[in-house]
Amino acid sequence: MPSIETLMHIGLPHYMFLSAILFSFGMIAVLMRRNVIVMLMGIELMLNAVNLSFVAFARESGSLNGHIMVFFVMTIAAAEAGVGLALAVAIYKKFHEVNIRFFEHLRG
């Protein structure tokens, strides 16, 4: 049982814990959800968890590189979401379906 002191003294591990949980949530969404849009959301969630981790580390180390990274990651994540959604639209136009289980023609 962690002491009150540990619980109250919010430090890196706390944030890391949070980020790790969120990251695994995102992973589970990518791994398990059937709807491709939700899978995309999972990826966004993962990226956000990483951002949290970066910011937490940035505070810990006092260097700003973390923030820069987060800035880039956010932009890229946005672009990625755009691309992902465009692809989703494209495949929806072809397959009329956004269930990932319908895209298993390439195999073997």
């Binding site: 899978m39 990826i43 993962m46 981790s53 970066f54 691309v83 465009a86 495949i91 397959f95 390439l106």
Partner: protein
């Protein structure tokens, strides 16, 4: 904290800038013409001019190790060499794309734009001396690739391939990014030299750093499709339009291996405490070779066969990467990796190029059967394909043999004899599937209803050139190898 930069920095990055600018030209023209496609050949010419300009801008800066933007970018042997390969691949890819049936004639401009900027991303990654830059470059080219795959005329498979690639690629980069965050957290910087210096002490002591390092390597391993991160490759390579497959199977691997090399070559694996990971990596290399060769063994689709074979080749290069890591200051491993990347690039681009020349329709998925009788119908193409396949199989006197020779040499030098033997076993398996197309081309009954494909002189020329370069350059490896060694030291 004043950070200075000057003209030299811009000159150094000018190849990328040139590429970008020239990529915009046809797009602008298209926009100005009311979104009507102009002559494809002209578009191609703009692209090629861009590539040539980039080469022209790149070459003068080579030979001296430089950094730009306060060390964020590095221009050393590895990056210049990789850049040259990338530009070559781009030229080849553009040529193929123009001639391909699966390129939408109404969107060729976009294709060119994306491909050239994809190369910008790869160049960025090749030059990256900072994990942030690495990530930006990686994402730039990845996103371009996803979209280019989806641009294919081919109806369904390319969309599926694009989406699969996108999901898995984004997933992998998220994981890799997580690793970068750990590295950042433990080192306190994303600057590569700092990180590599720190790794000397941290690898042995800091588990978080270790995990971060593994995740970073994982991200790169995904790109080069090392087992068990390879599963996307066959599907994506098969689903993509063939010129693009030729482009990405070579470019992505070249740049990712270059960065892997940068990670391990300096001092990566020399730390004793890191050996468990090296052991694991050896197993991954071995399994990659196995999976690649075994997977290709019974494929009917030629593209898929080549996709699996490219997995196997990644395994071979991984041997070199590990050897480079263990070897530390010995340049044998690193040089063999670069040499093999070069060989692999020519061979694979050529092989996919031949396939795309034979495709009568965007949907066609060529099998062994489709090659029957090619030897008598199109002798030079068949001969080129034969040379390319023989080279892929690593049979002398082709380039592929010398590539393998250097790789195995590096492995044996570092005591990785078992990996070399494993590689040999893989090569033996690979003989079967590399030789079967040759069998079909020359020795089986000709196919009578081959869809007649019109002559596509540019790609045809490119493919035959690649084949003969492979045949000739292998025997004259020395100057080339010396060049690589000089670039590395």
């Amino acid at each position: 904290m004043e950070i200075q930069f000057g003209l030299i920095d811009f000159i150094l990055v000018s190849p990328a800038v040139a590429l970008f600018l020239f990529s915009c030209v046809p797009l602008l023209i298209k926009v100005l013409r009311g979104n009507r496609e102009q002559n494809q050949f002209a578009t191609l010419i703009y692209g090629i001019i861009g590539v040539v300009t980039a080469v022209g801008l790149l070459v003068p800066t080579m030979g001296v190790e430089r950094t730009a933007f306060d060390g964020a970018l590095i221009f050393d042997g590895i990056s210049s060499f990789t850049s040259l390969i990338l530009l070559l691949v781009t030229a080849v890819g553009l040529t193929f794309a123009r001639d391909s049936r699966s390129t939408n004639p109404n969107q060729f401009t976009e294709n060119v734009f994306l491909m050239m900027n994809c190369t910008v991303g790869m160049l960025t990654m090749a030059w990256a001396n900072d994990l942030i830059i690495l990530f930006v470059g990686l994402e730039l080219f990845s996103l371009c690739l996803y979209m280019m795959i989806a641009l294919s005329l081919e109806e369904k498979l390319s969309k599926e391939a694009a989406f699969k690639y996108f999901i898995l690629g984004s997933f992998a980069s998220a994981v890799m990014l997580y690793g970068i965050s750990f590295i950042y957290g433990t080192v306190g910087s994303t600057y590569l030299p700092e990180f590599l210096d720190a790794s000397q002490s941290l690898l042995g002591t800091n588990r978080l750093f270790l995990i971060g390092f593994i995740l970073l390597i994982f991200g790169l391993c995904f790109k080069v499709s090392v087992f068990p991160f390879h599963a996307w490759a066959p599907d994506v390579y098969q689903g993509s339009p063939t010129p693009l497959t030729a482009y990405m199977a070579t470019g992505v691997k070249a740049v990712s291996f270059a960065f892997l090399l940068r990670l391990v070559a300096a001092q990566g694996f020399t730390v004793e405490r890191f050996w468990p990971f090296v052991d694991t990596l050896q197993w991954l290399a071995a399994l990659t070779i196995l999976i690649g060769n075994v997977g290709a063994f019974r494929q009917k689709s030629l593209k898929r066969m080549l996709a699996y074979s490219s997995i196997a080749h990644s395994g071979y290069v991984m041997i070199g990467v590990i050897a480079a890591g263990i070897g530390g200051s010995s340049m044998l491993g690193a040089s063999s990796v670069l040499y093999y990347i070069f060989a692999y690039t020519l061979m694979t681009a050529g092989a996919f190029g031949v396939l795309h020349l034979l495709e009568p329709q965007p949907e066609s998925d060529l099998t062994y059967e489709d090659l029957r009788g090619l030897g008598s119908e199109r002798p030079w193409l068949a001969l080129s394909m034969t040379i390319l396949l023989i080279s892929l199989a690593g049979i002398p006197p082709t380039l592929g043999f010398f590539g393998k020779f250097f790789l195995f040499s590096a492995a044996i030098k570092q005591g990785l004899v078992w990996l070399a033997i494993w590689g040999v076993i893989g090569s033996i398996i690979s003989l079967y599937y590399y030789l079967r197309p040759v069998l079909a081309m020359y020795m089986e009954e000709p196919l009578f209803n081959r869809g007649q494909s019109e002559l596509r002189p540019l790609s045809y020329f490119t493919v035959t050139t690649l084949a003969f370069v492979i045949l000739i350059i292998g025997l004259g490896s020395e100057p080339f190898y010396q060049l690589i060694l000089a670039a590395l030291t």
